[in-house]
Amino acid sequence: MTPRDLMGAALRGLSANKLRSLLTVLGVSIGVGAVIVLVAVGNGSGKAVQARLEAMGTNLLTVSTTGGGGGFARGQAGPSAQQYSLTLADAAALADDRLAPDVSAVAPVMTSSGTATSGDTSYTVNQVIGTTPEYMPATNTPVELGQSFTQQDVDTSQRVILLGQTAATELFTRPATAVGQTIKLGAVDFVVRGVLASKDSTGFSDPNATAIVPISTLRATQAGYGPLNQIVVQAADKDRVDTAQAEVTQLLTARHQVPTDQTSPFRIANSAQILQTSQDTAATFTALLATVAAISLVVGGIGVTNIMLVTVTERTREIGIRKALGARRRTILGQFLIEATLLSLIGGAVGVAVALIVTRFQLAGVQPVLVPSSIGLALGVSAAVGLFFGSMPAHRAAGLRPIDALRHE
């Protein structure tokens, strides 16, 4: 029997019960499709998180205090709370090359919020950041239109403002027209010096609904002279993040006379760590999704086995006839194996096709990124599943003595 004859016999066998074949194919294609799509979703979300964090800058340290930061705002102005508050002097000390040689840039940060108005239009800015010009390069926040403010602007408390994309759009419709205009923030006039480049969202809040002003101006007009919310520190190099972090900790501990037996009141978030953590999380997430998908693939395989068992049982008489007419064991085996493999492969192909289409769209807010090896793996597994699971019933049938197969009811 030529391969072509075998294929013909297998196809005739499959088409003899179309609905059943179709359902089996469906089971396999769901399994294969699920593997590819879910792995792509896991991969995509990992890539997205990584891209966002990398955009933030990987050599960034964010220093805040757990003991006294924002003490005024929380109404707990006790001496111990005060003691650990971050100050502009801390920022200045961190910027000192002799005290912290691995720190390249330091920007003190105070935040507040306020309503900005331009003519009749008003817009509530969620986050008004008071800082120094170092903040922009350190946090990867470039100015797209106009220009940044300068250290001199900070020293002289100039009333200049940089608007985030959302803020600029809300106030001026077209951000390009914003530069040079005067807006009111609270009761104070500010001149728009520049518009920040758009940023991708890293969380629930819109990172473009911001405005940045010189820290001195913010303190004078909005936030008062309380402690800093945080200090943004840029390590000189990606590889020197850890030493920079140690220097920051040491310096602040010394400056604030933290007793040695006390846990540090300063929290230093390291973006490289965050990146690593979220990459690990993404990998776990992907593995989890892949496991779920693999299970569905196995379920599809069991479907193939089940169908082949039913088919073989149902066609035992036919097998007996074929053997009586001179069919050899391997011919019978070949026919049923080809049937099982065809079911799996057609299912696999359909699964891949559907997965290729589905992964073009965002799923649950994630743009899936295909992992090419997952396609090969899913197809390979589906063929192997067909061969493995199909071979058991086929072996059983092919091993029957002709008369036993013929007598089968």
Partner: protein, 231 residues
Amino acid sequence: MAADALIEIRDVTKRYGSGETAVHALRGVSLRVEAGEYVAVMGSSGSGKSTLMNILGCLDVPSRGEYWLDGSNVARLTEDQQALVRGRKIGFIFQSFNLIPRTTALANVELPLTYAHLRRTERRKRAARALALVGLSDRADHRPNELSGGQQQRVAIARALATGPRILLADEPTGNLDAHSTDEVLGMFDQLNADGRTVVVITHEHDVAARARRLIQVSDGRIVADEVTRR
């Protein structure tokens, strides 16, 4: 053994099951059939005729005893060699037709030729010729469930003839047929035997047995009579 015996079985027994419930379908049967004979086998129901026929057709194996077919011991043949014997030397006609469902008459007849590794065009030609021989050319594309009982039996005969086997084994081939169809089928057997093929037919009907030249009577798993009825 004589070289001219095409079929020879020696002291063959067949037992189904074991212990208390064992059924002895054959209790020691010895038989020689020369090439070109036309043999009828008769006997009451349950006497072991079909069991004997299945063993002769290499579809079943005896519990004890030897079966020599065309000079070789069947028990010694490998599974593949037995398949080859079934496919090339023997044409088996079942009482219950045993056509493959959902498959056209032509494809059914073609099947043994496929297993005999014939080329596609050659297969088609021979299958069509075999169908023509049984007068069913116009039903070639019909499936078994679209054929009458007599037509199905004729397709089964065409299938048994397609490979040009030396031995034709028929288990009650006319059991389901009317007088006219029976006559047609028996005419075919006469023709085949005249061509030199060996024919063994199981039947309950005396007028069917009368067409053969040798009559074997089976009773309770034994051969009780074996006579040449016609020269």
